[in-house]
């Protein structure tokens, strides 16, 4: 009865928040439903035959989306929390969305992104078959605390989880690779044959032992993506990933490794071959075509020092003299209210010799961003400060002869999506995934 009431209230909240365009109902329905029945996540997720939990600082959404792509190709009905709603209320909202009023859920795989802190309080409620640890970097200290304490809490949570769970860890991240020793069950690792993660002081020198899922012969192919060889059970398969940047290869490894445990009867290359038709989530390396314009725009979400540095590294070699950059830094709660992190991100990577780029800085902390770029060595006169994102976009597109690279923080990305929706370039974000 309590559960039914919680579902009803949740569905009503979702209905009204869409009706009045407050948002897509990705968090509020769950928030209210949890107040009525705090056990709603446990009860509803128990109806889903298999559940996967993905956590880490960077790459959760891309990994979840890729895994969902494989699962759909394999004929499964997937349920997942969306658009960065990585707390319990986001999980609850997705469950409420999917449950029918008879109390049933017509999905056979749950894919759940949980943020670094929510993992400890929510993971066990989902009774996951597989848990993926992607990485841990310094992120919003005001929300998650220090890296050491994140890892410590994860290891405590792992100790108490069902040993039948399969745990997948990034073997190239010194923090996630040591998690295995805290878990009683099976742990598998994924990573590169020889590589160290850039952007943070942690690196992993490969010893003699092989990784369970190991990428080799990695070739980066500019903005088009990358290709690599993945060896699973001593059999190599070639993978073409339509996403640029080394960091996305880790997301792909995690998604493919998870897939190999979920679908033991399907040859894995059949699924990885379908990556051709995979499109990333909004703002994660998205290519946009503006109407009445022959120039492309690319959106890369930046949200913390390591992630931003990886984005800079990926786009820097691609920049041409006529290209422009639009960076947008917000300091709302979901972005992190402390913008100090921009001083740890290697914006220096964007400074390319003999290349005079026009850069528009936007968002609530536009001036902080411009200042960061000035201290990289950009001429102050090439830096344009325009806190209003709509005007900034206009300024960046005005007279554009090359491509536009847009690098927003999380809430700036949502703002951008609203603007683009009004201009007819994009769908609402809540129409993007469900």
């Amino acid at each position: 009865m309590q559960l039914l009431l919680a579902i009803l209230i949740g569905k009503l909240v979702a209905y009204f928040s869409r009706l009045f365009k407050i948002g897509g109902g990705t968090a509020a329905p769950g928030l209210y439903a949890l107040k009525i029945d705090p056990g709603i996540v446990e009860k509803l997720s128990a109806m889903i035959p298999r559940n996967v939990v993905i956590t880490g600082t960077n790459g959760k959404t891309t990994t979840a989306r890729m895994l969902s792509h494989f699962a759909k190709e394999a004929g499964l009905k997937v349920i997942r929390n969306h658009t960065g709603s990585n707390l319990e209320r986001g999980v609850a909202s997705a469950l409420i969305h999917q449950v029918n009023l008879g109390g049933g859920i017509d999905s056979n795989l749950g894919i759940w992104e949980l943020d670094e802190a929510a993992f400890n309080t929510v993971a066990h409620k989902l009774k996951p078959d597989i848990i993926v640890f992607l990485n841990v970097f310094r992120d919003q200290l005001d929300r998650y605390g220090e890296v050491d304490s994140v890892v410590k809490k994860w290891s405590q949570t792992l100790k108490n989880l069902d040993p039948k769970t399969i745990v997948l860890v990034n073997g190239d991240d010194a923090n996630t690779s040591k998690l295995g020793s805290y878990f009683k069950g099976k742990v598998y690792n994924f990573g590169f044959r020889d590589y160290k993660i850039v952007g943070e002081a942690i690196s992993h020198k490969r010893g003699k032992e092989n990784l369970d899922f190991e990428a080799s012969n990695v070739k980066l192919n500019g903005l088009k993506g990358s290709s690599f060889q993945l060896t699973i059970n001593h059999k190599p398969i070639n993978i073409h990933l339509p996403l640029p940047g080394i960091y996305h290869i880790y997301d792909a490894l995690a998604a493919i490794a998870t897939t190999s445990f979920l679908f033991t009867d399907i040859p894995i290359h059949r699924l990885t071959d379908t990556l051709k038709s995979f499109s990333p989530a909004f703002g994660r390396v998205e290519k946009l075509a503006f109407p009445h314009s022959k120039w492309d725009a690319y959106i890369f979400l930046i949200k913390n020092p390591a992630g931003a540095t990886q984005v800079f590294q990926t786009i820097a070699p691609q920049l041409k003299p006529n290209d422009r950059l639009l960076l947008a830094l917000n300091d709302n709660l979901a972005d992190g209210t402390d913008v100090s992190w921009i001083w740890d991100g290697e914006f220096e990577k964007l400074k390319i010799e003999n290349l005079k780029l026009k850069i528009v800085c936007s968002g609530t902390r536009a001036a902080d961003l411009a200042l960061r770029l000035k201290y990289v060595g950009f001429e102050p006169k090439s830096l344009h400060v325009e806190p209003n994102l709509r005007n900034a976009l206009k300024q960046a597109r005005n007279g554009l002869k090359g491509r536009l690279f847009i690098l927003p923080t999380y809430t700036a990305m949502l703002d951008l999506q609203k603007i683009l929706t009004k201009q007819g370039v994009k769908n609402h974000y809540w129409e993007d995934n469900y």
Binding site: R138, L141, D142, E146, V147, D148, S149, A201, T337, D338, V339, S340, W341, I342, W343, D344, T364, R365, A366, A367, D368, A370, L371, R372, K374, Y375, P380, L383, V385
Partner: protein
């Protein structure tokens, strides 16, 4: 020749650089270089010694950031083994220093954790810190002899100034040293300790310049006047923070 060299000692830069602390080093370096002053940044950590007159090039300016608990303990022990005394001696000589958050706490008299005995500090700042369960997080604006300073604080330790200690400034918005007495930071000779990240120096260039000026004056033994710089973007970022938060 009017060539000037500034050697910045980055104290435990590999362990104590929790959020944007490196931005302070970048600001000091660039603002000196834009004036034709050569800059060397020297990382001083567990393995090495602080150069003094007898060995190597002396440090002209110290910077000390914040760290995670585990690292902070390591650093505290290392400071007690001798580096703390050297830093104190150099500051007495007039060498400027900027310490943020954890670095500020370690340079005080002591730190009292929730459990266990007090951890002795360097005793440079006449102040002590007591662990608390309040997290003091948010944008902070203070009024100081350098004008308004803007930054971001994130600490649970509460620092109390002893009698006669001079605060860096008074809180206009935020918590400051302890959330009660409206003071923020401490200034002793040319050494400044405070809780302000942000990074602090890029957005508060007047403070960066004061540190550079003091460093050069101590080093070259004469009054130094720094050339003015185009600080339009700096003051834009500073003003934006004052407008939004104060």
């Amino acid at each position: 020749m009017n060539h000037k060299l500034l050697t910045i000692g980055y104290l435990y830069g590999d362990l104590m650089n929790i959020y944007g602390d490196t931005g302070n080093i970048i600001a000091l370096k660039k603002r000196a270089e834009w004036r034709g002053i050569e800059v060397r940044v020297q990382n001083i950590s567990l393995g090495n010694r602080i150069p003094t007159r007898q060995v190597g090039t002396r440090i002209d300016l110290f910077f000390f950031g914040g760290g995670q608990d585990q690292q902070q303990e390591l650093v505290a022990r290392d400071l007690a083994k001798g580096k703390g005394k050297v830093i104190k001696k150099e500051v007495e000589r007039g060498v400027p220093l900027l310490a943020i958050c954890g670095g500020y706490q370690l340079l005080g008299d002591y730190y009292k954790p929730h459990k266990g005995p007090k951890l002795p500090g360097v005793g440079l700042f006449p102040a002590y810190t007591v662990a608390s369960f309040d997290r003091m997080i948010g944008n902070i604006v203070i009024e100081t002899q350098f004008g308004k300073l803007v930054g971001f604080e994130n600490h649970s330790g509460k620092t109390y100034l002893k009698k006669g200690a001079i605060p860096l400034g008074m809180v206009l918005k935020g918590f400051g040293n302890n959330g009660k007495d409206k003071t923020e930071g401490c200034i002793y000779k040319n050494a400044i300790g405070c809780y302000m990240h942000g990074s602090l120096l890029p957005k508060n260039p007047q403070l960066a310049d004061w540190l550079i000026k003091k460093a050069l004056e101590v080093k070259y033994g004469k009054e130094i006047n720094l050339d003015p710089l185009d600080d339009i973007l700096e003051s834009q970022a500073h003003q934006a923070a004052v407008r939004r938060f104060a």
